[in-house]
Point group: C2
Chain length 422, copies 2
């Protein structure tokens, strides 16, 4: 390799992360930027998975997407198509995309386009659907599908026009560095970033040629959607971590994701190879009427936020979230961040955390450190009902399983041992 040693390779990976310049530049139908979405194709969260292996909420999302696309008009029709194999599945991660929870993305869904100006790459993510019944948690009724149509017809095009009025798109680093001082960790809590996003985009929405009725609906939706920024944060982190991956060397985790079945990671020295292990069950707080018994296994590409160094890796930034995810206030949040520090290479001073005495957010989960210490990344996550159609029932935390890090380390040993041989 061109680096003197693994630490030097990791430094290059870290530089790609801390130097990144992600801008939100547009919102467009997914199929216009992801050519793989031609025909009957769905993207999903996590590493590759077959229809029959998907947990129910991910299957529920597939029903909803099939109805939204007009491939089926009922759940039963959709189920037939899906189980007879007439719909192709591709992981979001394989096509520069990420998706929350089920991650189910179809061609006509609008996606956020985030461009990392430092590296020149782009990443995509669907728009946050707001509160109530939502596709990403496995709901697929009329409410869900109608809202997807509104997002396609009104929200997406309006945001696209507003972003078009911005000189060079929206500099997401500015929002992220502000919001981390405002109690957001960008996975379970995005209230500050969402409000800042709305604040920043409103003048441009008003400058663009958008019907007044649409403006009213869009402003109401943005005002009501405290997690709106989550999907932007995901595309942001994906654009950064794909740039980091391009270094092609080192022991830094460049992706973490789950498909409800397997947890999977990628490592900087091993390109696009997935290292998997069975996912864990998230623990946390449940909405009234639901218990741990109802919870689905962990899923979603949203752990890209932890891969980048926020979410559960930045718990200390979000003391307000610690109770919601089952931790106990400042002390517990500090303990988690101190623990996560042990498996990280450094701090990202672009993201100074006041509650951590202005130390930067963590950066660079080192596979070697995870295996050495036995400490696995902590992920803040939403919890879906195990049955299709119900939706979100709570939120909590989940640990990445140790085994995928152990397997990745074996892969790294093989690679670098054989390089030494040559």
């Amino acid at each position: 390799m061109i680096y003197k040693n693994l630490d030097q390779a990791n430094e290059a990976v870290i530089a790609k992360i801390t130097d990144a310049q992600p801008f939100l530049i547009d919102v467009v139908p997914a199929k216009t930027v992801i050519k793989e979405l031609e025909g009957r194709v769905l993207l999903h969260a996590g590493p590759p998975i077959r229809w029959e292996d998907m947990t129910e909420p991910m299957q529920g999302s597939c029903y909803g997407a099939s109805i939204f696309e007009g491939w089926a008009s009922t759940k039963e029709e959709a189920e037939k198509l899906l189980s007879e194999g007439s719909i192709t599945f591709i992981p979001c991660h394989d096509v520069d995309a990420v998706g929350p929870m089920g991650g189910i993305t179809s061609g006509n869904m609008p996606v956020l386009v985030v461009e990392n100006r430092e590296h020149g790459n782009r990443a995509y993510c669907t728009l946050n659907e707001g509160i109530g019944k939502v596709l990403r948690f496995g709901a697929y009724g009329d409410e869900v599908v109608n809202r997807l149509h509104w997002i396609k017809d009104v929200l997406g095009p309006s945001l696209s026009k507003a972003l078009g009025k911005m000189h060079e798109g929206m500099n997401l680093g500015v929002i992220v560095s502000k919001a981390i001082t405002m109690g957001d960790e960008f996975h379970q809590r995005n209230i500050a970033a969402s409000a800042l996003f709305m604040k920043d985009i409103m003048p441009y929405l008003l400058e663009a040629e958008i019907p007044h009725k649409d403006l009213r609906q869009v402003s109401k939706f943005l005002a009501d959607t405290d997690q709106f920024f989550l999907n932007i944060a995901m595309a942001y982190c994906k654009s950064v971590m794909d740039a980091a991956k391009s270094i092609g060397e080192g022991t830094i985790v460049t992706a973490m994701t789950r498909n409800g079945n397997e947890f999977a990671i990628k490592v900087s020295g091993l390109g696009d190879r997935w290292f998997t292990a069975p996912v864990n069950m998230p623990k946390g707080l449940f909405f009234t009427g639901y218990t741990q018994e109802d919870a689905n296994l962990d899923m979603g590409d949203s752990a890209i936020t932890e891969t980048f160094g926020v979410g559960g890796m930045a718990m200390i930034a979000a003391p307000g979230v610690t109770r919601f995810v089952g931790a106990d206030g400042m002390g517990a949040a500090m303990e988690i961040s101190d623990e996560m520090e042990e498996i990280s290479v450094g701090h990202n001073q672009n993201l100074a955390i006041p509650t951590w005495d202005f130390k930067g957010a963590l950066v660079g989960i080192d596979v070697r450190k995870v295996v050495e210490t036995g400490i696995t990344p902590l992920i803040n996550t939403g919890i879906a009902h195990r049955e299709a159609g119900v939706g979100q029932i709570g939120a909590g935390t989940v640990r990445a399983p140790y085994d995928c890090f152990a397997k990745a380390l074996e892969g790294l040993v093989e690679k670098y041992a054989s390089e030494e041989d040559n």
Copy 2:
């Protein structure tokens, strides 16, 4: 008195504070709600003061207000009117109002109308003028006066229309309790509350009949003005502390304010009597090109925020602000809040502070405790240039002078001693 003892009286005062229900209900020209503003009258911050005793930045604000009102067309004309005594001065606090820095308020300036639904009283404050040259810091040039006209003609009426579309006004308690979990202390830092305010009002601005051009300007102004909520917070706190004052007994501070010359407090047991002492010089960080030498003495009604229990009294909620005001991160912020706890009666659980392990903001500065411990309230404050016309040159902290608390305690001793005699 009707209470068994001072502690019980103080409990009644505290209940008025914690039970308060302030709603922002309208924005109207000051003269329509403050009848004292008929003719050539200006309100000012702090206890009563004569023109010749005002420091230069407050005088600068008077020039600007006189030009804005059309009483004068130049600084020189304004100066003549002011120095010959043709303009009457009234403290904001005397007419249910508060004003930041100079606090200069004239009849045609729009004011926020905050109604405390629990007690039925109202409080008023001018709108935040945004960034750059502003009247409150003593600037009075064309830029300042033109913006005051825009605030009068566009911003005020637009907000009024939007608030009119809300069912019962804007529940400020909701914004304040959210924003204190987002790093705001509502004096030096209002970025979260301002963003939440904009998020909440935008859908109503779009629902109201407001020309599109005005909507664009208003949304741009709100998006650019991170301290917009400060003035709302001030009216909020004033409406609460005036209700607390109505108890008429006890040893709780119900107002703290400064006129650039004197620092003054009111105490729950002694109604509207001011207890004064010379103000201190604020210390902090200065904008490039300015130093402590350029600083004006402390001024403004904004210390009503500390009286209520936020601002410097809630430093731990805003670790992001500690560096800006000269303190040193979490440790220093915690020390300040722990110190302020010693002079306060309790905690306000409506304002749970995550960074303080969800302890509520402090409530009820007890004059007895201040005198006993020698600890005086710490106030976060903007710093004006000592010369009229320059404006803000920094921000920092300042201590309330001990003497006004000592004098107030003497007043309380006299009152309650004579009551015992009867």
